[in-house]
């Protein structure tokens, strides 16, 4: 039983790491600010959720699980606001949009 | 190779990079970055060469480093205030005079 719980936790953490890796590859490979932000926020928030869930399962305590949920929600708020500010600034500064560039 | 050995070697290399930056860099803010890099290296070295107790690294060394981190920020803040004033007064971001640039 203990082994099964541990396996579930580890699988969740590793799945979270895969999402992080995908987000990082997106950050490095995507052509413009907007799509990079898209990769970062979407994939990394999912990754953080999975890592937190995995750690909560591994910790096996309600208090720690609650704290991890708080960590995730604060991370979510920070990511949403900072991504919004960066995108807004980029738009106002006239940052080029990759897909429109190629259409021309 | 143990964890401590890895960090001692990395810290000495980081310290060297900081010394190089402090001497070669032109911009005072980059010199400050180099100083901060050096202080991080010193902190890591201090903790790794201090002994360990059953409950982790030596708590005296940890408290010293914690004090050091806060002092480093205070010193950096003061140095940045000096830098901003220097730029306001002279328009220069390095300590050399305009025509002393070797240009």
């Amino acid at each position: 039983m203990n082994g099964a719980i541990e396996t579930v936790g580890l699988v969740l953490v590793i799945a979270g790491c895969v999402f992080y890796a995908a987000g990082t590859i997106g950050l490095l490979r995507f052509p413009d600010v907007y799509s990079r932000l898209h990769a970062l926020t979407k994939a990394d928030n999912q990754g953080l959720l999975l890592v937190c869930l995995g750690l909560a399962v591994l910790a096996g305590s309600v208090q720690v699980a609650f704290l991890l949920i708080v960590v995730w929600s604060v991370g979510l708020v920070a990511a949403a606001v900072s991504a919004h500010l960066i995108a807004r600034h980029a738009r106002h500064a006239g940052e080029p949009h990759a897909s429109r560039e190629t259409e021309r | 190779m143990s964890t401590e050995v890895v960090y001692v070697l990395a810290a000495s290399a980081v310290f060297g990079a900081g010394v190089y930056g402090l001497i070669v860099a032109n911009h005072l803010m980059r010199k400050l970055l180099a100083l901060n890099v050096m202080s991080s290296a010193v902190f890591v070295t201090m903790l790794t060469v201090a002994g360990t107790t059953p409950e982790g690294p030596d708590p005296v060394a940890q408290a010293l480093v914690l004090t050091g981190i806060v002092i480093a920020v205070a010193a950096t803040a003061f140095a940045l205030a000096l830098l901003v004033r220097l730029v306001q007064e002279t328009g220069l971001v390095s300590l050399r005079a305009k025509d002393d640039d070797g240009a």
């Binding site: 500010l85 | 070697l9 070669v24 991080s40 806060v70 803040a77």
Partner: protein, 309 residues
């Protein structure tokens, strides 16, 4: 060689590569950002070395706060002073590189050769710790065994602030590049984040007696909130330090001195702290003092006032 040591090696190599990039790079703005990243990796190495107190402090103060101060100063000295390419003759740089290279080798060898002392001060601390009522040895050293050091640290912070005030001269407080709070999300961010930071700071302060945490980590969280409030214009920098500001700035040092002197009156040796209530009192004062000092240093102001007043 275990997996852990492989992680350590990757972390160590990343630290060396980042530090080289920070000191030699071309764009100052990018290198400040890389320096923040460097600080976060240093925090990870503290965690690997088994020092969670330091990991918390490094991430919040060493990386976050220093980075915020640097970026703020970068904005106020202006992008037009962006570094010109180094005009120094490459030969000089090469000589310096060779010399620092040999310095690295000497330091590395010397540090590796240092022998661990068999019974260090740390063991004495762990032995005496149960008598203090504290469970966190680092907090014990900071406040009970070496309280004088921490008191003088508060004095250094005060001097740094006074120095910055002097350098500020008669200049109006630095223009803060504010984010417009009418920007969607930013206003609501504060209403969500401010109470959470307060909660986290108090939690860190209280937890610090028994678990990783304490006044320094708590003050860093509060400072983060202060920086956010300055950036969104909720707190505006002013050119005059009010009475409350002055009082709060010296509160940490004053609490130390008063409690220390008080111990002398009730029959203990002067400057000894007894009981957890003294620790809580001093830590609270320290937290408020440092947080205000750092926020003022960030805003390069003598005082702060709320938006409405």
């Amino acid at each position: 060689m275990t997996v852990g040591v492989v992680v350590d090696m990757m972390l160590g190599l990343a630290l060396v590569a980042l530090s080289l990039r920070v000191v030699t790079g071309g764009s100052l703005f990018r290198d400040i950002v890389l320096f923040i990243l460097f600080g976060l990796l240093v925090a990870l190495s503290w965690a690997r070395l088994g020092a969670p107190d330091l990991a918390l402090a490094e991430a919040a103060i060493g990386a976050g706060l220093t980075g915020a101060l640097m970026l703020m100063a970068y904005r106020s000295i202006g992008a037009d002073t962006e570094e010109r390419p180094v005009r120094r003759r490459p030969g000089v740089a090469l000589v310096v590189a060779v010399l620092t290279g040999s310095l690295v080798a000497v330091i590395g060898l010397a540090a590796l050769g240092i022998e661990r002392v068999p019974d260090a001060a740390g063991d004495a601390v762990l032995e005496a710790l149960p008598g203090t009522g504290l469970g966190n040895a680092v907090t014990g050293v900071l406040l009970v065994f070496r309280g004088l050091d921490t008191m003088l640290e508060m004095a250094v912070l005060l001097v740094a602030l006074l120095g910055a005030w002097t350098v500020l001269g008669d200049a109006r407080p630095g223009r803060v590049h504010r984010v417009d709070r009418r920007t969607p999300l930013v206003g609501s961010l504060l209403t969500v984040v401010a109470p959470i930071t307060l909660l986290v700071a108090v939690h860190l302060l209280l937890a610090g007696t028994d678990a990783p945490g304490g006044a320094f980590q708590a003050c860093a969280v509060l400072t983060g909130c202060g920086v956010l409030m300055v950036l969104t214009g909720t707190l505006r920098p002013t050119a005059v330090a009010g009475f409350a500001t002055r009082l709060l700035v010296v509160a940490g040092l004053a609490a130390f001195v008063l409690v220390g002197a008080g111990a002398g009156f009730v029959g203990h040796a002067p400057m000894t702290l007894t009981g957890t209530w003294a620790v809580y009192l001093i830590e609270t004062a320290m937290m408020l003092s440092i947080a205000l000092t750092m926020t003022l240093l960030f805003a390069r102001a003598r005082g702060l006032r709320g938006e409405g007043s």
